[in-house]
């Protein structure tokens, strides 16, 4: 199995595969077998997990650049000491890699409040289907220089390029971060109160149904959390919960994770984009439900 230990090596592997029309299945930690099952069976595994490690972290800038094989747990660990985080907090847990999280645009329970992968990335490096190493965006938090290849790659499931490095913006962790488990009655009045809470100024970081109860995460400075706590208690019988419940919930991932039902590349514009970046159709062929030649 080809295993890339540097971007140069990765470029060469992909370029050779392109020239030989040899299909590749991109694998980092390999933790998502159900979804990758759609990839053509004759595709050779391309292991990119060795491209790993934090490249640059400037706490004062709240920015971090890491190679794609770095796990989210490693990034969590690097940033925690400075009271910061990159709150991707995706379904599936933090054992996965940065590259895979952006490549699949995996959301999590905090995405609505803290942003989805497309909101966190400020730059990226990838190897396209011809083996070209491409840099997009940068390491500063605001940037409109050139067309946005970063957004293009996010959620493309490896079909436009192999992500080798991602730059993200970080946030300060909330000073207080609490989790409550609430039993919310199924009547209209409760539903109205819940709606008001979720859409109002005290909107929570996350809220999910778990074991028949609602798990609510509230975060901010002490005074904000004190007010949020009262709001949570007004929703129903509330008990304080272990913050680790979120990790367990994310790891157990209740959402369906089968292969795609339909062909995501059906429209002509997507097909043209695909042709421009992977003309030989060698990167994760079939994963978006597209037909194989």
């Amino acid at each position: 199995m080809p295993r890339a230990t540097s971007t140069t090596e990765l470029s060469e592997i992909v370029r050779d595969a392109h020239d030989a029309r040899a299909r590749l299945r991109i694998v980092a930690r390999g933790s998502w077998p159900a979804r990758t099952a759609a990839v053509a069976t004759d595709a050779a595994l391309l292991d990119v997990s060795a491209l790993s490690g934090v490249v640059e972290y400037v706490p004062g800038d709240l920015t971090l650049t890491a190679k794609s094989g770095t796990t989210l747990a490693e990034i969590e660990e690097a940033t925690r000491a400075n009271g910061q985080w990159c709150p991707l907090l995706p379904w599936g847990g933090d054992g996965g890699t940065l590259g895979a999280t952006f490549s699949t645009a995996t959301h999590g329970p905090c995405s609505a409040s803290l942003g989805a992968p497309r909101d966190h990335a400020i730059g990226m490096q990838f190897v396209d289907g011809t083996g070209a190493l491409i840099r997009a965006g940068g390491r500063v938090v605001k940037n409109v220089a050139g067309f946005d290849l970063t957004r293009l790659l996010i959620g493309s499931w490896g079909t436009l390029g192999v992500i080798t490095e991602v730059s993200v913006r970080l946030r300060a962790r909330p000073a207080v971060d609490e989790t409550w488990s609430v039993e919310i009655e199924a009547d209209d009045a409760s539903a109205a109160r819940l709606d008001e809470f979720r859409r109002g100024p005290l909107a929570p970081l996350a809220m999910e149904n778990f074991n028949g109860r609602s798990l609510v995460r509230i975060g901010g400075n002490a005074a904000f959390v004190a007010a949020s706590r009262e709001a949570v208690k007004s929703l129903g019988a509330a008990v304080s919960a272990d913050p680790e419940s979120w990790t367990r919930l994310r790891e157990s991932d209740p959402r369906p994770r089968g292969p795609l039902a339909t062909n995501a590349l059906a429209d002509p514009l997507s097909q043209r984009v695909k042709k421009q970046f992977d003309p030989a159709h060698i990167l994760n062929p079939g994963i978006l439900g597209e037909a194989l030649a």
Binding site: F147, P201, L202, Q276
Partner: protein, 471 residues
């Protein structure tokens, strides 16, 4: 070309096709001073169907074209050099506002501030607020991925657009949507936002509306050195407080504003002021305000004024939002820059900019989105003086090269357009520029939309020679 103009007239009506030099005069420039390009003709569709028909007619004629909103762009993006100018400002309908979903769908020519006005009765607003918001259009904002003071906390245009309908230069109409968990596919919407009119013509845009905050505190912190103000900015960012806005104006800018009709009561003897707005839920707001004030004082703020009511807040903001205009009054021309630098490097970079200004004997007025590290070192000058003009250009280049060397970017919100195209090769390697060309080719294989902008065309490796393709 007159055949084409007849055809376009039959679509939009002869009144809405301009061909005479005198009529085209206003369309020879946008808000970027110093550049003039003559469009061949200008066409202004009034409806979505007309816009589609116009683009299809241009396609049939293989005619290159430049979309244009209000022409407030600061990078020359809307300039049409002997090609057709396609103006969208007649398409200014607010199609729908959905207060419960907190979204609105608008035509591209809707002026930014009018969208916020339409949302106001529901306690909502459109968050991206370029300082030009009273004139610029949502279509232009989408094309430039525009920012504004409040984007520090609320995000730029990209973060607020949820769908757009676009007519591609080849005439196909496509709906671009933000991918969701149920709808996987390429984020073509994300790729389209910020494409500077090079990917097609926006027909409508659906945006997220943001609830008005419960509480707002606007503060003006006054410093006796730029360095202190920059350090205060870095300290606030590093402390993890996310103000709604954090803007820096230096002495030169304060002077321009205070000598103009937009005088906002900024202290004229200050070396720099920070305009800081903290907003959100009432609960916890005081704590954030006190923390910001403490950090400013620790960094040497002389005085911190808090706007006590909406009128005073509006006045403080007016000075900031009209500062480019105020500078424009100081001299016949104004060079505008838009670099982004790491926020920990603000103080040394501002010091370096002052040095470069001194070396070339020019006045640099800094007014910028400090919280994002998005600098606008602007220079009022006389473009009729060739010596001064040369010095301004040399200084600008030196400032930009320094920002690039510091790990920064050449534009944070104004776009590359024509003005910054010369820096693209310093910022990106050849393969990256070529990849951008390929993305553009997917949308516009004949390269007819806004030709010659954003990426130097000699950087586009493969020329997909379509019949009649122009360079």
């Amino acid at each position: 070309m007159s055949l084409l103009s007849d055809e376009l007239s039959s679509i939009v009506g002869a009144r809405h096709v301009l061909e005479r030099a005198t009529e085209l005069l206003v369309y020879e420039s946008d808000a970027l001073p110093g550049y003039h390009k003559k469009p061949r003709l200008a066409v202004f569709p009034g409806t979505r169907d007309e816009a589609i028909a116009v683009v299809r007619a241009l396609h049939a004629a293989r005619a290159p074209f430049v979309p244009r909103g209000a022409g407030t762009g600061l990078s020359g993006g809307a300039l049409a050099d002997d090609v057709v100018l396609l103006g969208l400002q007649r398409m200014r309908k607010i199609i729908s506002v959905d207060p419960s979903a907190r979204t609105a769908t608008v035509e591209p020519g809707v002026v930014n501030v009018n969208l916020t006005k339409a949302a106001a009765p529901f306690g909502l607003h459109y968050a991206p607020d370029p300082s030009s918001q009273s004139a610029c259009t949502i279509g232009g904002n989408v094309s430039e991925n525009s920012g504004g003071p409040h984007c520090l906390k609320y995000g730029v245009t990209l973060n607020h657009v949820i769908a757009a309908t676009v007519v591609l230069p080849g005439g196909d109409v496509v709906k671009l949507e933000r991918p969701t968990a149920d709808h996987t596919g390429y984020d073509l919407l994300g790729a389209y936002v910020g494409s500077e009119g090079c990917f097609g013509v926006t027909l409508d845009v659906t945006v997220r509306l943001t609830p008005n905050p419960e509480g707002v505190f606007t503060m003006l912190a006054d410093f006796t050195s730029v360095d202190d103000a920059a350090r205060a900015t870095s300290a606030i960012v590093a402390a993890g407080i996310l103000p709604a806005a954090l803007e820096l104006m230096d002495h030169g800018t304060i002077e321009c504003v205070e000598s103009s009709i937009y005088a906002a009561g900024y202290p004229r003897d200050a070396a720099a002021v920070l305009l800081i707005e903290v907003d959100g839920a009432l609960a916890g707001l005081d704590e954030d305000v006190r923390e910001v004030q403490r950090l400013c004082r620790d960094c040497g703020a002389r005085e911190i004024r808090t706007a006590s009511d909406a009128t005073e807040r509006a006045r403080l903001w007016q000075g900031r939002k009209k500062s480019f205009g105020a500078m424009g009054r100081m001299a016949p021309h104004l060079a505008v820059q838009d670099a982004v630098v790491p926020r920990t490097r603000l103080a040394p970079i501002l010091a370096r900019i002052a040095e470069i200004g001194g070396k070339y004997r020019i006045t640099v007025c800094n007014v910028f989105h400090a919280g994002d590290g998005n600098l606008h070192p602007n220079v009022p000058y006389d473009g009729n003086d060739p010596d001064e003009t040369a010095r301004v250009h040399a200084a600008m280049r030196e400032i930009m090269e320094m920002c690039i060397a510091e790990g920064g970017a050449i534009t944070g919100e104004h776009g590359v357009g024509l003005d910054k195209i010369g820096y693209m090769e310093s910022l990106f390697p050849g393969d990256s520029l070529d990849a951008m060309c390929r993305l553009r080719d997917a949308f516009d294989p004949e390269r007819r939309a806004n030709p010659g902008k954003v990426v130097p065309s000699h950087r586009c490796r493969e020329w997909l020679a379509a019949p009649g393709a122009h360079s």
